[in-house]
């Protein structure tokens, strides 16, 4: 197999250029998908037989929660690649994931609380699923704090990569918390091997939103990664050419 494309990704000016070219290809479809998914979810999808209109929170809550876990996986993978192959661009990629993942985690927690109050009767309980998701937020924040607390870039990269990899253990805990233990949180409706537990006209906006959020993540990550690469390479001659 020809690995040239992979090795070229390690070159900061190359990745800077590629990221810049790709960004609009993710950003525009993301915007279109999110707007249409919101419309479909809030107006076209039928109300739920138990929850009425309140169930529509799922269209923001569930995709945010899925993304929060997925982004952590991407971040930890990039961090491991950076650690193993000493690839600085991979560390830059991991670093640019953290704030986005933390935002999605925060959104999932807040939307869940707003939904929980009318449906469960409480904003928050120390339930395994809820607690594991809060731990995810703390992992993201810890990762960011650790990076900003170490001045030496190489050391910050390695230390934060180890933290990111340790945190991976939380991902299966989040996913299976509702199956391993008694939980107030319902079991997965969509992210399971069996058929989704909702009809197509409720499911379609949900999947559109998932795709939209994923593309949004890609677009924002590429923008952040360009900034991160510029910051790291600020002394290099190619940066002077780009900036001037």
């Amino acid at each position: 197999m020809d690995w040239t494309w992979f090795h070229r990704l390690a070159s900061p000016p190359h990745i800077y250029r590629v990221a810049g070219t790709l960004t609009p290809w993710f950003a525009w479809p993301a915007g279109l998908l999110i707007v249409s998914a919101l419309y479909a979810g809030l107006f076209l999808a039928p109300p739920d037989y138990q929850q009425g209109e309140g169930f529509r929170m799922i269209y923001v809550h569930a995709p945010s929660a899925w993304l929060s876990v997925m982004i952590y996986g991407v971040m930890a993978t990039a961090a491991a690649v950076g650690l193993i192959w000493r690839m600085k661009v991979a560390h830059a990629a991991a670093a640019s994931c953290a704030a986005i993942g933390a935002s999605f985690t925060f959104v999932s927690l807040v939307t869940g609380m707003l939904w929980g109050k009318p449906m469960w009767g409480t904003y928050w309980v120390w339930d395994p699923r809820l607690t594991a998701q809060l731990v995810l937020l703390i992992l993201y924040l810890g990762y960011m704090a650790l990076r900003s607390g170490i001045d030496d870039l190489g050391r910050a990269d390695r230390a934060s990569a180890v933290l990111a990899i340790i945190g991976v253990v939380n991902l299966p805990i989040i996913r299976y918390s509702v199956e391993w233990w008694n939980s107030i949180h319902q079991a997965p409706s969509v992210m399971k091997m069996e058929r989704p537990s909702m009809p197509f006209d409720m499911l379609a906006p949900l999947l559109m939103m998932l795709l939209g959020f994923t593309l949004l993540f890609a677009a924002v990550m590429l923008v952040r990664m360009r900034a991160e690469v510029l910051r790291r390479e600020r002394g290099a001659s190619w940066v002077k050419e780009v900036v001037s």
Binding site: I84, S183, Q186, S189
Partner: protein, 156 residues
């Protein structure tokens, strides 16, 4: 071992070590991680009877009795194996319904009645429009078939 292999071993080692630690912790805290106990667990004595705990299950249909003129109510929580009667005074959440999941926080009295001071509703993972629910109900003679698996646990 080349330096790169050593670093791969480091990553694999971290993952293995942390997973093992998490597994041991989960086993040790199994009971504390449980958000609620179901009536069978209460009958088997695995719930703490001397202090407050959460009781979870389904609201058995036809058992919800309200006292007129007050917020007093009684109902039976079931897991379709065992029943526990619950007494509660207060407002219940919107999703508190017969045949729906419920989590009651309180203490089991010596008379076998669980006195709750907090009632939370537990939703299941099924979503459907009202018309579909009506159609299913009609097909089953006017009653919604319940998923007897009140824990979320593995489908058996």
């Amino acid at each position: 071992m080349t330096p790169r292999r050593r670093r791969i071993a480091l990553v694999v080692g971290i993952l293995a070590g942390v997973s093992l630690a998490a597994l041991l912790a989960a086993r040790a805290f199994q009971d504390n991680v449980m958000f609620f106990f179901d009536p069978s667990q209460v009958a088997a004595g695995s719930a703490p009877l001397d202090k407050r705990f959460r009781l979870g299950g389904m609201v058995r249909p036809g058992t919800v009795a309200r006292t007129a003129g007050s917020l007093e109510m009684q109902f039976v929580v079931t897991d379709f194996q065992r029943d526990v009667p619950v007494r509660y005074s207060g407002v219940v959440p919107d999703l508190f319904r017969e045949n729906q999941g419920v989590v009651a926080h309180g203490k089991l009295g010596s008379d076998g009645i669980f006195v709750a001071d907090e009632i939370l509703a537990k939703h299941d993972e099924n979503y459907m429009p009202p018309e579909v629910a009506r159609a299913i109900k009609e097909k089953h003679g006017g009653v919604m078939p319940v998923n007897p698996d009140i824990r979320n646990g593995p489908r058996t």
